[in-house]
């Protein structure tokens, strides 16, 4: 009736390179990465003013630093985690700005709706938190710390050790990746769905009566995706902090 043709997934998430080859080619997603990186730097340049009463970007940057330092680093790792603050700030802002392009008119493509960046960042976090754990406890001490919970009867260790191994060394990078990637991809598909529906209802027949519904849905989901963008950046950063905290702590 409406001749509604929903585009295949590749048409809304895959962007061909307009410069370069498959290895170094630049496409829309790469430009989103670049813009996110530049916006993060810009925030910190503008925020590094030294006014006694902070306003604007300085206020935002200082609040963000305090939010991550007090709300994530101190909560998950304590004092000894302060050296990871630059890493977590980078995670948060880079992901946040990559996410936020999901709702920027004319761009509307989150860099994190492609699996490459979430996977890279999750693997980077994986290497860092296991590296930190090994440095803190030593290789064998770290394995013991992660795999053998204190107080477990020896008979149960046969069962517990593989479970702990799978959780600590196998599952976490996947969940860390997929949580960010899937949320942003789903949000993107959601917005595209209602936008396509609105577009299809832009017709001169009775069907146009229900046009306001998908249009309102697009508006509502755009606001919702703003929240999701922030929340997923926070969750990814918080989990990275939690994983590092678990690795370097001396309690199980």
């Amino acid at each position: 009736m409406l001749a509604l043709e929903f585009p295949p997934l590749s048409h809304i998430t895959n962007w061909p390179e307009f410069w370069g080859n498959d290895t170094y080619g630049i496409n829309k997603v790469v430009l989103v990465y670049a813009a996110a990186a530049l916006l993060t730097m810009l925030l910190f340049v503008l925020g590094s003013r030294k006014r006694l009463v902070p306003t604007g970007a300085q206020n935002l940057a200082e609040m963000s630093v305090e939010f991550i330092e007090d709300g994530i680093v101190m909560e998950t790792m304590g004092e000894k985690g302060l050296k990871y603050t630059p890493l977590l700030i980078s995670f948060f802002f880079f992901i946040l700005f990559c996410n936020i392009f999901e709702i920027v008119p004319g761009i509307q493509m989150p860099g994190t709706a492609r699996i490459a960046l979430p996977m890279f960042l999750a693997l980077l976090a994986y290497v860092i938190y296991h590296g930190a754990g090994i440095r803190e406890h030593g290789p064998f001490g770290y394995l013991k710390h992660r795999l053998i919970p204190p107080g477990v009867p020896a008979a149960l260790l046969v069962l517990i050790i593989p479970i702990e191994f799978i959780i600590a060394f196998v599952v976490t990078p996947f969940t860390h990746t997929v949580r960010l990637f899937a949320n942003l991809l789903a949000g993107h598909i959601l917005l595209v769905t209602f936008a396509v529906l609105s577009s299809a209802l832009w017709v001169k027949n009775l069907s146009a009566v229900i046009l306001p519904l998908p249009v309102l849905a697009v508006v509502a989901f755009t606001a919702f995706e703003l929240l999701v963008s922030f929340l997923q950046a926070y969750v990814f950063t918080l989990l990275a902090g939690v994983y590092i905290g678990q690795a370097i702590s001396h309690e199980h």
């Binding site: 997934l9 590749s10 048409h11 910190f44 503008l46 630059p86 699996i115």
Partner: protein
């Protein structure tokens, strides 16, 4: 230098955002290719032709690529982008912001310390003033008490002096009265004598000599005076 840095970053950000905004036109994979069939083939069309050449069916053209497999270029550029952000935040961004925040904390602490010192100084001065005020009040009380005692003494002295004066005046008045009374009595005696003589002369109708008359009268008076 700082202004230039800002301008460069701002220009780069604006340029890239604009570029991203314009990039989708003609670059995103639009399904179906050109409607008139005369233009260049889109990436999607090329992909579809490739699939059909390899023995696929037309439905394969609608099949989405596996979204779980990452693109190599996106991994590389994502890593470069994140590395740039991390290095910037680590080496410049965070230290600059922390420096500003620490400087503010230090300044506020210094101001608070200074305010505390000034408050203590003010309290000390106030305490000193209060002590001085209490001393002044004590001194004023002492002076007032002394004045009161002096006034009482003066009042007592004046009262005693006035009483003495009054007594003296009374004494003098009494003496004057006594003197006047004696004088009056003496005068009265003389007058009575004269009256008596005159009366006697009339009574006896004979003229006695003066000395005899006087003697008789005085004798009479003496009798009269002793008879009172």
């Amino acid at each position: 230098m700082r202004r230039l840095q800002l301008r460069l970053l701002l220009a780069a950000a604006v340029a890239l955002v604009a570029l991203v905004g314009f990039a989708p036109h003609g670059l995103a994979q639009e399904g179906g290719g050109d409607e008139d069939g005369t233009g260049d083939l889109t990436h999607a069309s090329e992909e579809c032709i490739h699939l059909l050449e390899e023995g696929g069916v037309p439905e394969d053209c609608q099949e989405a690529p596996n979204p779980i497999l990452p693109e190599r270029n996106e991994i590389i550029w994502g890593a470069i982008g994140f590395a740039a952000v991390f290095l910037f935040v680590w080496r410049f961004g965070l230290p600059a912001i922390k420096k500003g925040m620490n400087a503010r904390t230090e300044r506020i602490r210094h101001d608070l310390d200074q305010a505390e010192a000034q408050r203590q100084e003010a309290e000390s001065v106030l305490s000193e003033y209060r002590t001085q005020l209490a001393e002044a009040k004590g001194e004023a009380g002492r002076i007032i008490e002394e004045a009161r005692q002096t006034a009482d003494a003066m009042r007592r002295d004046l009262s005693a002096s006035a009483e003495a004066d009054i007594a003296e005046l009374r004494r003098r008045a009494a003496a004057d009265i006594e003197s006047a009374k004696l004088q009056a009595i003496a005068d009265l005696r003389g007058e009575v004598a004269n009256l008596a003589i005159g009366a006697a002369e009339r009574v006896v109708e004979r003229n006695l000599d003066r000395d005899t008359s006087t003697q008789l009268v005085e004798s009479f008076i003496a009798q009269v005076g002793s008879g009172r």
